[in-house]
């Protein structure tokens, strides 16, 4: 298991390096385009261009440019945006990351718990009304677009019922953990639930179909023949083997959300997260910010996948030797 973790960690580092090289090449070595002009932004003056060229070493060979870029990003952390003149890139990203992480991790906890409970309950209630009712709720969850659901939630909690039932709901926006866990959670609880609804529906449906399949497996019949109670058969045998699929799915979804796919939720709830930052910088064509966002997002996606790989190996002994 430890060797497996070590190999995976090494692979993760290599992937990160490869991503940084690819991103660098896409931004700086695309033939027929002047990276300096793109970094300097639209209508840049000649002085700005010269400044950019010097700062990024565009007169030096490619590997020097790569090294210089990484130095700006990770060591000196002084990459500056030329579109928003003088604004530092790294602080913007380090401010956005906790917002997105808080949003996505909280939502992930909710959707995993909810999805697993719904999936197990639906499997246990096969042949009764429980199963179709839960599955209909799942479909409703999947079908509600986040931006619509979020706006409805805001309409109710911030406006229509804000003076009665939802007086406890704070104004939109993010409160850092340093303000206290309670304040932080209070600001995020509605975004969490809004984001979790979609995924809980998907996960419940996937888990149910996996578990119903597992309940027809020989090993479940064997477990019953051993005199194991139905609850234990359901949890320790059927759920345990079905979790493997759920965890793979989780790795993909979680990584994508951390990497900016939570944009719609961030916009609706006024959270200045990575998705929002990337979106704004794309609007302005703010190349250094885009670059920073992509690399930081890649870092978290790779870390999330590393953790999921470990969970996967813990769940399924068959992959440990691969």
């Amino acid at each position: 298991m430890w060797r497996f973790a070590g190999r995976r960690a090494l692979a993760a580092v290599l992937v990160l390096f490869a991503i940084s090289v690819m991103v660098f090449l896409i931004f700086f070595a695309t033939p027929g385009a002047d990276p300096a002009a793109r970094i300097a932004g639209r209508n840049a003056s000649q002085e700005t261009l010269a400044q950019v060229r010097a700062s990024f070493g565009f007169d030096k060979p490619m590997y020097m440019q790569y090294g210089l870029m990484m130095r700006h990003l990770f060591i000196d952390r002084d990459l500056t945006s030329f579109v928003n003149r003088g604004s530092q890139v790294i602080p913007q990203i380090t401010q956005a990351i906790p917002v997105t992480l808080s949003l996505v991790i909280g939502a992930a906890v909710i959707w995993m718990v909810l999805g697993i409970i719904m999936g197990v309950a639906a499997t246990a209630g096969r042949g009764t009304a429980v199963d179709p009712i839960i599955m209909v709720f799942g479909v409703i969850g999947v079908s509600l677009p986040v931006y619509w659901l979020g706006e409805v939630v805001n309409l109710i909690t911030q406006s229509r019922l804000h003076d009665s039932w939802f007086a406890w709901v704070p104004p939109l926006g993010y409160a850092p953990l340093s303000d206290g866990v309670g304040t932080w959670a209070l600001h995020l609880v509605l975004p969490w639930m809004t984001l979790a609804v979609l995924y809980a529906g998907i996960y419940a449906r996937v888990l149910r179909s996996e578990m119903v399949g597992a309940m027809n497996e020989d090993y479940v019949r064997m477990a019953r023949a051993k005199g194991i109670g139905e609850g234990r058969v359901l949890i320790r045998h059927a759920l345990r083997t079905s979790l493997i699929v759920i965890v793979s799915l989780f790795g993909l979804d979680f990584g994508a959300l951390i990497g900016g796919a939570a944009l719609l939720t961030e916009v609706v709830f006024g959270l200045q997260g990575v998705g929002k930052l990337t979106y704004d910088s794309l609007q302005n064509f703010d190349l250094p910010v885009i670059l920073g966002c992509v690399l930081y997002a890649a870092f978290f996606v790779v870390v999330a996948n590393f953790i999921v790989d470990l969970a996967y190996a813990w769940l399924d002994p068959r992959v440990r030797h691969v």
Binding site: R221, M222, G227, G229, R240
Partner: protein
């Protein structure tokens, strides 16, 4: 004679389907005595597995209708509460399934599987259960049991996995072991090893065994008593010697005729029973179900002939007078011999 361990009375299992009722088991009755090995023989779809799964109520299809009685040590398994049934499953009656590749939950070790069963029925510590698992694995012939106890199912070969399943089945000293084609998924040499293991364990632990198989060879190696099923009914039952040497029912003749002879010249072609097995959804059941495929069928094969004991301990369901059987049997087996 002592009280039978298991007594099945007029067991009938049918499934409601969109196209009508399908009868898988059609009123079978038999007993299993303590310490006995009973072979239940029949081709695919004859209802042999379904009837034994029903004994432990392991069919969870909501469209399944079960009638009759299954008495185990005098208690009816079909009407008893789930909790009582659970204390019998695995402790009193254990089961071995056909495919060892899928019978173990892939994410747990061999030891975990065995301990789970022990701890489901007895209050013992994890350590003690694990120690017993090691002993059991040793007794079913798994080398290095101390380390293999921590191996996962995918780390065992098919034969070794079936040994793990057998160790698990024996972990609570059951008085009845139901083996549902335990060797079908294994190759021939491993098959022989597993049968030998079952035979040794049977003499050591003294459990009764119901051996479900479609292989007459397996039956002849293992069973004290043989029951032959066709179309969900018992067509012949008797001691191994009686059934193997003097099979009474034309269907059994067909089964025996399809075994390659080991003496004399080599058969050019093996005899096969003409026609196809009767479909469980066939609604015309008030007759001998084998009649459409039987060379000796007459109009008197209707209504259904009952299982009649022609001599002590050997019964069959055929209208041919018992005095004529020997001659008819020779006729039935003759064509094959003639072609040799």
């Amino acid at each position: 004679m002592s009280e039978p361990l298991l007594e099945v009375r007029n067991l009938r299992v049918s499934f409601r389907t969109r196209t009508g009722t399908v009868t898988a088991v059609d009123g079978i009755s038999f007993t299993v005595d303590p310490g006995e090995v009973v072979g239940l023989v029949g081709e695919s779809g004859s209802g042999k597995s379904v009837s034994m799964l029903t004994v432990l109520r392991l069919i969870d299809n909501p469209n399944c209708v079960i009638e009759g009685e299954v008495l185990f040590k005098g208690n009816d398994l079909l009407t008893m509460s789930d909790a009582d049934l659970r204390s019998i499953r695995g402790r009193e009656i254990a089961m071995i399934f056909q495919d060892p590749m899928t019978a173990l939950t892939p994410v747990y070790t061999a030891g975990w599987h065995i301990s789970e069963q022990i701890r489901a029925h007895e209050k013992v510590s994890k350590k003690a259960a694990n120690d017993r698992a090691i002993q059991l694995l040793t007794s079913v012939g798994i080398p290095n049991a101390e380390s293999r106890v921590n191996s996962y199912p995918h780390e065992f070969s098919g034969g070794m996995r079936q040994r793990v399943v057998i160790a698990m089945a024996l972990s609570c000293n059951p008085s009845l072991l139901i083996a549902d084609e335990p060797t079908t998924a294994l190759d021939v040499t491993i098959q022989a090893q597993i049968l030998e293991l079952l035979r040794d364990l049977q003499s050591e632990f003294g459990a009764s065994i119901v051996l479900i198989t479609h292989d007459m060879g397996v039956v002849s190696q293992m069973a004290n008593r043989v029951m032959v099923m066709y179309g969900g009914r018992l067509v012949e039952a008797g001691s191994r010697l009686d059934v193997m040497r003097e099979p009474a029912h034309p269907y059994t003749w067909g089964l025996m005729g399809s075994i390659p002879p080991t003496d004399g010249t080599r058969a050019v072609r093996l005899a096969a029973i003409p026609g196809a097995p009767i479909s469980p959804s066939d609604s015309d059941r008030d007759r001998c179900l084998f009649a459409p495929r039987c060379t000796f069928a007459t109009d008197s094969c209707r209504p259904q002939p009952g299982l009649i004991e022609h001599r002590p301990g050997h019964s069959d369901a055929c209208i041919i007078p018992f005095s004529e059987r020997a001659q008819r049997r020779t006729e039935a087996l003759a064509p094959m011999r003639a072609r040799t």
